[in-house]
Every structure is written in C-alpha cells, then in structure tokens.
C-alpha cells in the first residue's frame, strides 16, 4: 500500500514537472522565433524582403515553437527527478527520491520497505505546488526584450534608399608617370625574332601597354602593382622556358664566361689572335668580322692565309682545344671549331673558309642573343624601379603627390622627375629632358627626345682588409654575477620543481619536513616590501 501511495504522489509530481519544463521550452523556442523575426525585420529595413521570404520566415518561426512543444510533450520526465525536487523543496532529506528508487526494485530489503513505509507517513507534506513550483522561465526577460525590439523595428522607417546611395570611394589614380622602360621595351621588341620569341613578344607588348596606362594616369596604385606582378610572372615564365630553367642573367653570365674561355685559347696563335682577343673581350661583332676576314684569306686564290705545316698543326690543336672548352654552353660554336681544327690538320683551306664563315654567322647570332639578354636584365631592373616608385608615392595634406611617407620630405613628384629620361651621355651632351605633366597640372613639353646612349661598364677593384665592424659584447650572468630574471618570477617554478624532487627522492620523513619548510621560508612575499622614505 505504501509503495502505491508513494508511486501515485511521484507520478503526480512528474506530470507537474512536465508542464513546468514545457513552459520553459515554450519560452526558449519563442525566444528563438523572436530572434528570427528580429533578424528579418532588421534586414527588411535595409533591403526590403519579398512577400515569399516573409512567409518563409513566419513559417520557420512557428515551426520552431511547435517542434519544441511537441518534443516537450513526448520527452519522458524522470520520476526520480520529480521526487528529488520535492525532497529539496520540502526538506524531506532524500526520503521521496530514495523511496522512489527502492520501490522499483524487484526484491527490496526489509530496510527499504521500512524506508518506503516511513516515507509514506510524510506524504501529507508533499504538496505538488510547493514540491515543483512554477518558476519564471529564465528566458522570459530576454523574450520581452526581443518583443520590444521587434516593435521598435516595425515602427522605424526603412533605410534602403540611404543604403543604396552609399558609394564606395574609388582609390585615387596615380599621377601620370613616364619611365625609361618604354624605350627599353621598344628596342627589345625591335630586335626580337617574332617567330621564335612569340611569347616573349606578347609579354613585351603587355608591358608596353602597362607603361602606356601608367603614363596616361589611369591606374591606381593597387591596379598598377597588380599588373606589374602579372607581367613579371609572365616574363619569368618565358625566360625560364627559353633558357632551360636559368634566368636571363645567369644565362648571360654563362655565355660570357664560355666565350672568354674559348677566346683566351685562340689568342695563343698569331693567326687567330685577333679573333681570340675579340671573343675574350666579348666584342662579338668584331669577332665576327675577324672570322669572316680569316675565311676570305683562306678562300683566296691563292690563299693569303699562309701557314707552315707546323703552324697549321698548332692552330688545329688550338681550335680543338678551344672547342673542348665548355662545350655544353656553346655547342654550335664548339662543333664548328672542331670542324675547323680537323680541316686545318688536313690543310683543306676551302673547307676551312666555309667553316670560318659559319662561325662568323654563329658569332653574329650570339651577339644578338647577348644584346637581348642585356635588355631583359635592364628591363627587370626598371620594373623593380617602377614598383618602388609606385609603392613610395603618397598624397600629402595639400593633395600633392610626394615620395615617401605622408607629409615626409615634401619632394614634389611630377613629370620631370618621374619621367626618368636618359641622362645626357657621350655624344648627346646637348640632349635635354622633355617636359611632361607636373603635379600641378599637365605639362606642355610633349614627348621627350629619344637618346640611344650606350653604357661603358667599368670594373672597380675591391679592397681586401679589415673594415669597420659593429661588435657587441653580451655579458652573461657568469661574468657579472647578476641574475637576469627576478627571483619573484622563478620562485614558483623552483618551488614546484623542489616539491616534485622532495616527493620523488627517497628522503626520510623527518628530513622531508625540514626541506619543505626551507622552501616555504624562501618564498617571496606576496606584496613587494614598501620603500621606506
């Protein structure tokens, strides 16, 4: 009988608990639905939602509430939890919950039965309203706030007109700039074999268009840098493909080194000394001319290239030796030199003349290749310079373009300084830079005068020796005897390590106490000591 009584009361409590939880679920789901509607209303203020979207939103909100309620109705409520609530609220000292658990056992002990019986005598105190009281759901204040927000949003006018009027500011275009690079591109394009170097020519044209757009002052900084990056990537791709993975600079250095090595060998014989020196000095046009002159002397009737058998043999050996020098880099020229050496040893001067003519042609081709590589190298430098200038340009407070940080040295940059016309050199001392746009407005000078000045490279010898050095001596704790870290900062770590050691080591119990006490005593105080006046 007592068991039934307890079960009846607990069932009643469980039903009430289900209602209380359903109420909480209802408020929580209503809060989610209100949040959805608030979002929809806020969105609608800036960009009106179509009727269909509103319908969807309302259905979603209703579904959230309904699903949650249905879940609450179906979800089982623990009888034990209901009994426990009653124990807590009515101060029953776990009687009801324990009795609830014991009553479900198949074979309760006499003590359990006594407990259930004793609990039954307390059931008159179990009032469901007090055992499982209705509480204000925690989400209710939030729900009220959400409703208020919804009301405010409903009353507010829409912002869609204002929102559409917002236009993102376009980045300021750079001033009109003119660079040397345009001329470099032109000269390179003029020297290109369009059939062989079609991709390189396309990259050149793309670069030329970039220079033209920058000169027209139509590009912003980001656009300019982005396009410079595109051109660089394309040039890299073309160059690497042409020179088997080597850069133009590397390839040029290899060619120069190989030509100089072959030339040095040929310079040892009086008959080929001019050709060898021209190759060693990298004067390939002169080398080509010398080769042709040798060919004419060999082909003359009678031949004016008069060589004794010993001289022929020596020259043939030199040719073969020169051919063997760095054969892989200059394979065609090496093959031709091999051929010439063989023909000399056979004293076949007619054949030798043909071979020397072919060598002259190959030297011409190499001369063009070297010029192209020089041009590509220069173009790389000019592109770097262009990037530097574009990156360094800033608008100062007065709207003028200056180099460097905003409001820096105040150097005005306009057409004259950025035009970058070739400086007067050599025979063109009277050449004057053109006059173009300035920062204050368009100029009147038109196109600058084109100057095809050449450069004269000079080699400056370096000086070996001890230069100025910055020497910094870092003093360690050992030399000075001063701690680098404050004791307070490491005391905790040290104490922890000491504690671990004390526990890990085999230390007599009475000693352990003193060791621990020692570390306790050397702990730094919590607050730093106040300074005495």
């Amino acid at each position: 009988m007592s068991v039934e009584n307890v079960s009846t009361v607990v069932d009643r409590l469980a039903r009430r608990l289900r209602v209380v939880r359903a109420l909480e679920d209802l408020v929580r789901s209503a809060l989610v639905a209100a949040g959805l509607l608030c979002l929809g209303l806020a969105w609608d203020k800036f960009r009106p939602l179509p009727a269909r979207a509103w319908q969807g939103l309302l259905v979603a909100a209703a579904l959230v509430v309904l699903v949650r309620l249905a879940t609450a109705a179906v979800r089982p409520v623990s009888r034990l939890a209901a009994a426990r609530l009653a124990d807590v609220h009515l101060d029953l000292e776990d009687r009801l919950s324990s009795a609830c658990e014991f009553s479900t056992l198949a074979h309760p002990t006499p003590f359990m039965l006594a407990h259930i019986h004793e609990t039954a005598s307390h059931l008159h105190r179990v009032v469901p309203a007090e055992a499982v009281p209705f509480r204000v759901p925690r989400g209710l204040p939030l729900l009220a706030s959400a409703v208020v927000v919804m009301g405010v949003l409903l009353m507010l006018p829409g912002f869609d007109g204002r929102a559409s009027a917002v236009v993102e500011p376009r980045p300021a275009p750079l001033p009109a700039l003119r660079f040397d690079g345009e001329r470099t591109v032109d000269s390179l394009l003029a020297g290109l074999d369009l059939d062989r170097d079609r991709k390189l020519a396309d990259a050149m044209r793309q670069l030329k268009q970039l220079y033209a757009d920058i000169r027209a002052g139509q590009l912003s900084r980001d656009e300019a840098l982005s396009r410079v990056g595109e051109v660089e990537a394309r040039l890299d791709d073309v160059e690497r493909r042409r020179t088997a993975g080597r850069t133009a600079h590397t390839w040029r250095r290899e060619l120069e080194k190989s030509l100089a090595a072959k030339g040095a060998v040929l310079a040892e014989h009086p008959a080929s000394a001019d050709l060898g020196r021209a190759m060693a000095d990298l004067k390939l046009d002169e080398a080509s001319r010398t080769s042709r002159a040798l060919a004419e002397r060999a082909a003359g009737k009678p031949p004016t290239l008069e060589l004794t058998p010993e001289q022929s043999k020596a020259l043939a050996g030199l040719m073969t030796r020169a051919a063997g020098t760095d054969r892989r880099t200059l394979d065609v020229l090496s093959r031709q030199m091999d051929e010439a050496g063989r023909q000399l040893s056979l004293e076949d001067l007619q054949a030798l003349a043909r071979t020397l003519g072919e060598m002259a042609g190959e030297l011409d081709r190499l001369n063009r290749e070297m010029e192209k590589l020089k041009g590509l190298g220069r173009m790389d430098e000019e592109l770097e310079e262009l990037k530097d200038v574009v990156s360094a340009l800033r608008l100062d407070g007065t709207g003028r373009w200056v180099l460097g940080p905003a409001g820096g040295d105040g150097r005005a940059l306009g057409y004259f300084k950025l035009q970058g016309v070739d400086p007067p050199k050599g025979d063109d001392e009277d050449a004057q830079p053109g006059v173009g746009d300035t920062a204050r407005g368009p100029g009147t000078g038109g196109e600058p005068k084109r100057i095809d000045a050449t450069r004269t490279p000079r080699v400056l010898p370096g000086i070996w020796g001890d230069g100025d050095s910055l020497i910094e001596v870092v003093r360690g704790a050992a030399s000075e005897g001063v701690a680098a870290t404050a004791y307070r900062d490491v005391a905790d770590t040290a104490a922890r390590i000491a504690e671990d050691a004390v526990h890990a080591e085999d230390i007599p119990l009475d000693y352990r106490f003193y060791i621990k006490r020692y570390f306790q005593l050397i702990r730094p105080p919590l607050e730093p000591p106040k300074e005495t006046p």
């Binding site: 034990l80 919950s97 009795a99 003590f111």
Partner: protein, 333 residues
C-alpha cells in the same frame, strides 16, 4: 523483531553510551559523536588537539562505557614495533626444557589509545598498519587474530612539530575520521572545574559490550543508500583531485591550486558507512545527502594532501572541503 524495533534499540544503546561518556567529558559533542560513529563503522579515529583537552580522558571513558579491553600506548621515539605487537620470549618449562612463547603486546585489546602517535618512528608507526586494516598481527611468520571490535584511537599534537614524524599518507588513510578537539567555551570550563575539583571525579559505567557493538555494526551496514545519494559521495571524493577526470562539473579553483593528491576510495567508503549510522540515529532507514555532507570534513581532512603552495599559504583543509562540498552539484537525474 522488526526493522523499526532494531533501529529503536540501536538509537537507545547509542544514547546510553553517549550519556555515560558525557558524565566524564564536558562538551565535545561532535567529537564524541564522531568517535562513536567511527567505532560502529569499524573504523579508527585520529584525534588532533593540543594537550589538556581531554583526549586521553575521552578514550578512557569510552572504553569504560563500552566494557571493552583498553590499552594505552604512549608513543615515544625509542618505542619499537615489538613493544606494540609483542614478541617471542624464551621460556623454561618445569622440566628445564626451553621454548619460545609469544608474549602479546598492548595491541591485543579492543580499544587502543595510541597517544602522540607522531612521536614514534615510521617503523613503529607502521606496526599498526596490519592491525588497523586486517585486524591481525604477524610475528615471526605467525599471524595472530585480534579480538573484535578492534578500535584504534590515535592522538597527535598539532603544534609541537620538532622531533616528530608525520604519519605517512598510507597510514593516515586507514583512519576513518580525523577529529579536531577544540578548546571548551567558558560555560564548559566551569562545568569541568565543578566536576573535577570537588570530591570524587565521575566515572562512566559499562553499558555496552563487544557483542552488542558488533550487532549494531551489522545493523548499520544494512541501511540502504539510493544511487543518487551514493553518487554525491563519489562526486565529493572525485572533486578533491586536482586532475579533472571527466567530471560533469567544474572542480573548485582551490583544489586545482592547492591540492597535490586527493582522497582515496576509502574516503567514499567512510562517507557512506558513517552516513548510514547517522541516518539510523536520526530515525531514518536510508541515507540522505545531508548525512554524506555531514561527515565530509572528518572523513576528508586527513586524506587531502596539500601541495607546496597550499602548505605555504597555510590553507585550512576544512575550508577547502567546505568549498568542495559547496561546489559539487546534486547529481543529474
């Protein structure tokens, strides 16, 4: 006899013992209740207090009220294990034949007062280990069973630490409770003076014998405990560990900061068994959460090993336990 009648008898016997002890001991109700509870639970008690608070008197009065054999061992640094458990002596028979005979030590009693236990060396302290846990003593490969009930009451002085040997953690864990004996208040002091300075001192009369104690112990162990109440005991013990072992609640910050090792499963056993006795004394037939919480301090305070920082900060284990008990939520149902 019904369960209700058994419980009623249990409470009556307990009340009688308490009254007899109260004739001699003034106040200290919590300590007396703790000692009696530990005795009925089959555990041992470590009493901590400064000299002169009546610790020895309490134990002596208890032994008198319980009609049990009582031994007092004063622990000193030169005390040897054989002085406690006994030793084999060479005896001579009437015929002149010599033989070994085991002379029982003072541990062969029902109630042992191990006075100032922390003054003996660890070797001697450990002589109590087997007796406390197994209720037996082994000497020269021979094991002697101790008579039940076997109840060790150890005392230690918390202030005179010079020349003492703190009890090892393994031995501390064998004490069911660690009880703190505090100073009596003014009214209790007057009562003590009235009783002890005028005429004959009161003495306790034996009201309970060994058999009754063992039957009370058996009855207490029959008290059921619901799973969710037991879960509370488990959670409290687990919350004393600084490592978060996947507990469903956050352990208190103080535990993480100041505790090196938490309580062992023996602590949970102590909480449950003591809770059963308290439930019976309250006239209930099942353990409640309040019973578990009530014994948290005495059952845990000696089982929580503070770390270096905790000891240096002088953290009171009781304060720590209060925080742990407050932080442990009711088990989810």
């Amino acid at each position: 006899m019904t369960v209700e009648a058994h419980v009623k008898t249990f409470c009556e016997k307990f009340r009688r013992v308490r009254e007899e002890v109260a004739k001699v001991i003034v106040g200290q109700e919590a300590v007396v209740e703790g000692v009696l509870t530990a005795m009925l639970a089959g555990g041992h008690v470590l009493l901590e207090g400064v000299p002169g608070l009546g610790k020895t008197m309490l134990v002596r009065s208890l032994a008198e009220a319980l009609h049990l054999n009582f031994s007092r061992i004063q622990f000193t640094p030169d005390l040897m294990p054989a002085d406690i458990v006994g030793t084999n002596l060479v005896m001579e028979s009437d015929t002149g034949e010599r033989y070994f005979e085991f002379q029982k030590g003072p541990i062969f009693a029902n109630v042992i007062l191990a006075d100032e236990i922390n003054r003996a060396t660890p070797k001697t302290q450990s002589a109590l280990l087997e007796a406390m846990q197994e209720h037996s003593v082994t000497v020269s490969k021979r094991t002697y069973q101790l008579e039940l009930p076997f109840f060790v009451l150890a005392t230690q002085n918390p202030i005179e630490m010079e020349g003492t040997y703190p009890l090892p953690e393994a031995q501390l864990d064998r004490f069911l409770f660690k009880l703190r004996v505090t100073y009596p208040d003014a009214a209790e002091m007057h009562e003590i003076l009235d009783r002890t300075t005028a005429g004959a001192e009161p003495r306790a009369k034996p009201v309970l014998d060994a058999g009754e104690i063992l039957s009370m112990r058996d009855l207490a162990l029959e008290v059921p405990i619901a799973r969710h109440v037991q879960a509370l005991a488990v959670n409290i013990v687990l919350a004393t560990h600084p490592e978060d072992g996947g507990l469903p609640f956050d352990i208190p910050e103080m535990t993480r900061r100041y505790v090196r090792y938490g309580a062992s499963p023996r602590a949970a056993q102590a909480l449950v068994v003591a809770g059963k006795i308290r439930a019976l004394l309250a006239g209930r037939y099942a353990v409640s959460s309040g019973d578990i919480r009530h014994f948290a301090r005495p059952a845990l305070r000696h089982r929580i090993i503070l770390n270096f920082e905790g000891e240096a900060e002088g953290v009171d284990p009781d304060h720590l336990i209060d925080q742990i008990v407050a932080a442990v939520p009711e088990p989810e149902l």
